[in-house]
Assembly symmetry: C2
Homo-oligomer: 494 residues x 2
Amino acid sequence: MKFRVKDMDIATGGPQVVTLNNEDAEFLNIYHGDRINIKYRSRFTTSIVNIAQSEKAIKKNHIGMYEEVLRKLKIKNNYIVDISLDKKPDSVQYIKKKLNGFTLSDFEINEIVRDITENKLSDIEVTYFVSACHTNIMSMKETISLTKAMVTFGDVLRLKKYPVIDKHCVGGVPGNRTTPIVVSILAAAGLTVPKTSSRSITSPAGTADTMEVMTNVTLPIEKIKKVLAKTGACLVWGGSMNLAPADDRIIRVEHPLSIDSRSQLLASIMAKKASVSATHVLVDIPIGKGAKIENKKQALMLKRQFEQIGNHVGMKVKVIITNGSQPIGNGLGPALEARDILWLLKNDPKAPQDLKTRSVNMAGLILEMAGKSKKGNGRKKALDILNSGEAYKKFIDMVTEQGKKKINPEKIKPGNFSYEVKAGRSGKVKSMDNNNISKIARVAGAPNDKYAGIYLNKHVGDAVKKNEVLFTVYSNNKQRLNFSKEVKNSFIIK
Amino acid sequence: MKFRVKDMDIATGGPQVVTLNNEDAEFLNIYHGDRINIKYRSRFTTSIVNIAQSEKAIKKNHIGMYEEVLRKLKIKNNYIVDISLDKKPDSVQYIKKKLNGFTLSDFEINEIVRDITENKLSDIEVTYFVSACHTNIMSMKETISLTKAMVTFGDVLRLKKYPVIDKHCVGGVPGNRTTPIVVSILAAAGLTVPKTSSRSITSPAGTADTMEVMTNVTLPIEKIKKVLAKTGACLVWGGSMNLAPADDRIIRVEHPLSIDSRSQLLASIMAKKASVSATHVLVDIPIGKGAKIENKKQALMLKRQFEQIGNHVGMKVKVIITNGSQPIGNGLGPALEARDILWLLKNDPKAPQDLKTRSVNMAGLILEMAGKSKKGNGRKKALDILNSGEAYKKFIDMVTEQGKKKINPEKIKPGNFSYEVKAGRSGKVKSMDNNNISKIARVAGAPNDKYAGIYLNKHVGDAVKKNEVLFTVYSNNKQRLNFSKEVKNSFIIK
């Protein structure tokens, strides 16, 4: 049947969607979410149908098209296309199978991930998949299939090197910015570290947000290869590559219900490591209130799962469980964290020692894993590299190669507006609430306002006097700064 | 924050949706599916956010608005609105609770149904609800809450009468058009029967499709009341009222995975009965291959569930289980069924006797339930009313009041194009496949082409000779008719 194209002048950013008039859809027995084939000359594509209720939106015998479809068919407003009903992809049946409590095969998971990646499934269908895996939790075998499929249907950074190092932190702890330091130490030790990081979702900054203060983190894959060839490492935003892209579509439908699917989390992390050719991976699971993992039992289970997947995809994985009960470092927020990192790499006395200890420990473990140091000696070697200034030199090489921005910590000034939070009584800091601290920093504008955030003067265990400054909150937006004052207090002093 | 309105020139037909530019959304920490408050002068509304990836769709500082939102705020292109982040409705938490395997309270189900009805939940959120109820099946208590909530948030036809009669057939059997006959008999006996029916989803016709050949079925609620006042009954399309409207949104997200949720089915049927003030309801569950319910065990469970819900919402419910192994009547498809019904009501010898028997049995049972006839006498009374011509007279009154169309069966001619299907061998008709027969009729154009369908010459048990006509297929579209020849054969002769 012939239809006249109406350019809707919008991109869905997701699946290929077209809109039909209610009457046309009824006549053709097409329902909301069905698929049709659209043909223009020798070109064709499959699209999901939305149905418009009113004549105003789409007139009879017209088909409303979004960017993605217009581009695919290379057509414009008023072109005439031919449409016919298409069947659902097989992956929809596999999703239903999982929803009904059955286990999926390698092949079936592959089909689902391919169709998600190629935007062939609607939000509703992807939601059923997420929901199915949430209630009928994926087995380890299924999770491994999911990991492999995510690698298959995404970009791969092929590096003909051995070993290739990666690290991952399960997250949730503000300020835990070990990555730039660990990567610099390892690269200075001669290891290959193609590090891709994410932006923050719930904390004051992600590694990519922080690095962006100092350098360009959005690099095309060819440029990343050049940086790696020159310096042995990089510190870029993972989003600049198309690693395990199915993940983004899944997260998009998880967000409305804040669903946090364990198998999807494991698969997406491990798929991203495999996609950059990593052979040795260190995973850090900080535990504590407000961290992503709150107790040891969960952490141990996750540790086993990481190791099992590593085994199956041919990666050496070491998992450490660390203390995540309070923020790490002093600066929280992109610029404030960048300043801490630069001080630390330059061996400046203003550097936070807790961040240094953690970074050196982790770098040491990886040096041992990768055979760059004898068992028990890694920590010392890492500390030597850091103290010698080699790590700092390597870091400057990297950020320069990527496109240097601010690298003088004394010139990185936090936001123009600020206020201090003081102790209400004398005593000892008993605990700090990660969630509230993150919230204060985010309400103040972090991470989008790179200069918003918190500088901590006190950590857990420190003695405080009444009216002593606990922390300072910064922002470039006075209104946001004021809003942040309404967040609950984060320190408990006893 | 201020945004300039861009009229997207489209209605979603569902939830209130706006589109923001990717960068704006990032700056405001807004994700796909989040909610924002939109304010224009003293008017405001809440809307779900889509995020546009490209500048082309939505420029920075612009907000793309769909019909529903523009109308709500009474604004146009280029108006300036103020937006702020809104929290998720509580119902989203209740959906997550169900997804995690917990039981929902009356209050929680009420909130979910209200938000679905008021289009406050996105397709993704409604999908999670359907999915949750599919894997963690609703208890009877929850199903009753769902029923009541569906009544609460929909139109109600308040009738100050007692008893008020309704009937329902669980469906799936082609040609099973007892409703117009039963309603006519009951109304002729003086009962109030505000009958709303649906259009077909999978069979050649629904009661509303068939009635539409003879009368207008899309009536405003005030007109329905007038028809009822004059004739005691009506035969209208349920879609013309807004009965249990949450149902439509739920079905819309069930469709992509062909999910058939038992509790949603029960609740929506019973809610629609309660919404028309029914006090006495007869439910017919035909069982057989290709019917919605395929075995007796399922039917008995469903029967108990119908009765339990009836008890709780104060309706007297009687459930009968009937033979649904083959099509009923001879004509299948709107016009062909309408002709059968008129012949039957006029006591024409061409009337299908199986349809007559079923209709009279059902009418008889209801006469007994409603106290219009002594136990064991209902059937005879129903038959008398039918044979006397009173039912026919009542039917003509009703269709005339609603807006008469074709009521002379001799003038209802099936489609212009046709072909006959003949027996390949002599023998006895052993079985007929409901699914294939429906499919032939639908491919030929039913129910949208009202004159498409099938006329059956033979039923199960009939003797046939080789080359004798089994059935004729009609259509007004030659291409569709040809397509229908490709559907598998439906008769098994032995």
